[in-house]
Subunit: 390 residues, 2 copies
């Protein structure tokens, strides 16, 4: 018995459009067949979001075939049939024996496929930054007559400009992020365990908003006093206290896409320092958003923020954000000084203005926005304030 294709996040034409962009880059670079290893690029080109990337898998895009071939572990084939846009004969599985095998792994099956399909002397694109040295060496040895051409980040650069359909999905995810930020304001209270508040925030991220559930749960970080100088950690085994400050970062998620959002909460009146830092960042945030438009560079946006806060005596060492989409952070354009990527309509960014000023003091605010024809459209809509809680 076979499994049917599930509800699709995007129509077939959308995936074919994305594949055409990839094939055009392949042609430019002399790549006849491309092996996509990066799991987020696989999501982009197929719709597959299952969590199987801890074992080898590869999407084989051939310049002469409309649909790609997805080669993955036997166990994961039904999920791929269910999720991917392609016909099910395009989902090829390798045997379970290759899992935890002492010598072989799924990449051997991918190389077997390339050899069988007649690509032994072709230009073969490989995402070198996504495979380890021993894996790359295996490609070199077993495909000694092929030309291996690095394709690192090429698909990710194509992902940078979204379609209107992708924007719609990111807008749904942004509404979920907003719901979680609002829920946090209801559950962060003195005496409440950080974990109990986070359980409610996580539950909201899954329940979703506007009838659309989150389709996966992205990590959430909550850094409360005395840990506001940290980022990227989860809740502690502690309770909130009167006077506590809480820095929260969440992302709503739909079909692999994330829309992230940060806000700062204060139990009781914010300290003068926190209020001042917020006021300065808010001005900087507005300056950055006013700068972002087609033709401006990522560097321009970052420097608008830096200039604004430096005028008032603050600094931020880290970048001001990054391209955002599938898998949260995209590894391409960065809102940093010196990044000369020109903004274009439907690029999406997390304007991430978290600022960990001292080891024991940090503050966070952010927005997810898309570039429009004339400026920006902020997808998230939570109040830009310090949430003051009783």
């Amino acid at each position: 018995m076979t499994i049917s294709k599930g509800p699709q996040a995007f129509p077939r034409t959308e995936y074919l459009r994305r594949l055409d962009l990839v094939k055009a880059e392949m042609a430019r670079r002399g790549v006849e067949v491309l092996v996509v290893s990066d799991q987020h690029n696989i999501t982009y080109l197929t719709g597959y979001t299952a969590r199987s990337a801890y074992v080898p898998q590869g999407l084989v895009v051939s310049s002469s075939q409309e649909e790609p071939i997805f080669i993955l572990r036997r166990m994961d084939r039904p999920a791929a049939i269910y999720q991917c846009f392609m016909d099910q004969e395009k989902i090829v599985s390798y045997p379970e024996e290759l899992i935890a095998h002492p010598q072989l792994d799924g990449y051997d099956a991918i190389i077997d496929y390339l050899l069988d399909a007649g690509f032994s002397t072709s230009g073969i694109g490989i995402e070198q930054y996504n495979v380890s040295t021993p894996t790359f060496d295996k490609f070199r040895k077993r495909l000694a007559e092929a030309e291996l051409i690095d394709f690192t980040k090429v698909v990710a650069w194509i992902r940078l400009v979204k379609s209107d359909l992708e924007i719609e999905v990111m807008r749904e995810a942004a509404a979920i992020a907003d719901a979680a930020i609002a829920r946090a304001a209801e559950v962060i209270r003195p005496g409440v365990r950080e974990a109990d508040a986070c359980s409610e925030i996580a539950a909201t991220l899954i329940r979703g908003a506007n009838g659309k559930p989150g389709t996966q749960l992205e990590p959430l970080t909550l850094c409360a006093s005395p840990r506001t100088g940290t980022c990227h950690i989860t809740w502690a085994e502690d309770v909130f206290r009167n006077g506590s400050q809480v820095n929260l970062e969440v992302a709503g998620a739909r079909h692999g896409y994330a829309s992230a959002l940060m806000r700062t909460y204060s139990i009781g009146t914010p300290s003068d320092r926190l209020q001042r830092v917020h006021d300065i960042h808010l001005e900087g945030l507005e300056a950055a958003l006013e700068t972002a438009r087609p033709g401006a560079t990522c560097s321009d946006v970052a420097n608008a923020f830096y200039r604004s806060i430096e005028k008032r005596g603050l600094k931020k060492e880290s970048r001001c954000g990054y391209a955002q989409g599938i898998g949260w952070t995209e590894p391409t354009a960065s809102l940093r000084d010196g990044d000369l990527t020109l903004l274009a309509p439907n690029m999406t960014f997390h304007l991430m203005l978290g600022n960990w000023i001292d080891d024991d003091f940090g503050y966070v605010i952010s927005e997810t926005f898309r570039v429009t024809e004339i400026g920006v459209d902020v997808l998230t809509s939570s109040p830009r304030k310090i949430f003051q809680l009783a």
Copy 2:
């Protein structure tokens, strides 16, 4: 101002014990200094669990120094000071300019450190499977006179045998997994959205059990009819129905350690096929647990299961589980045919008997266990039944 060290999951002596084991392996392999890139190995050797591994970071273990040096992004240094057992001068940060830099990255800072510290002609251990080809080439070029020695999975093999302190943490995590399995039985009902049930299950995984919260949230997979043949996917945008079968996999998590657990639910009376498959798997599960003891091999345990179910006409293509601990699946011992790893006391495994028999039918059951002096101690304690729901 600096941040204080936070509450520690393990005493300093525990980390020094682990480091001594690593240093003994370094000595055996001619490694004077080791660069640990694998995030789970870093957790093991320091206590650090923050989610910063999407940018380069490395733990430098020197045979002549008691404490390792942790080199990571500037932004993440406060979290490392807070979480790691080492003195804070052992936490070295690289500047934010290296993030999304067009030529350089954090590995350049790690190589700079090795050069400055006099290791330019040393035996340097590298986890080759954890670094990409371009990164490894950078090590080769900039440390041309050093001998680079592959240390892939060496620390993971040390992790295989847990201390009693680690077992205690995994037992706490197992209780959380049990709580989530029980909560699922309360919330899976006909007409309920899969996402709403999962929001409650996730909330339970964070709230924890016995006063101990989950300290992070591991991915949960819920595959309900008509998707029981899939694994590794999350909830769908659908509701449960009368007659639905639900396959659930969760993991409780404490301090980076996961204890996983799978159970199958049936809304209404299970089908004859499901009941039969359950009965056969239960017998196989017991056969596997009876076989597991010091001196038996991983292969013995797997084959006890395979033989038991094959006698009754079933097969399972995939392995029967894997070593479990930090980061859920450990990449070492595998409960598979041919894995001759000898079981020893305090090894911990996820006996994973999920069986995706047809593309449209699968069944799951599992336990997390540790090997004792004479047999096994099952850490999870949920009833081994199909949860039949009204």
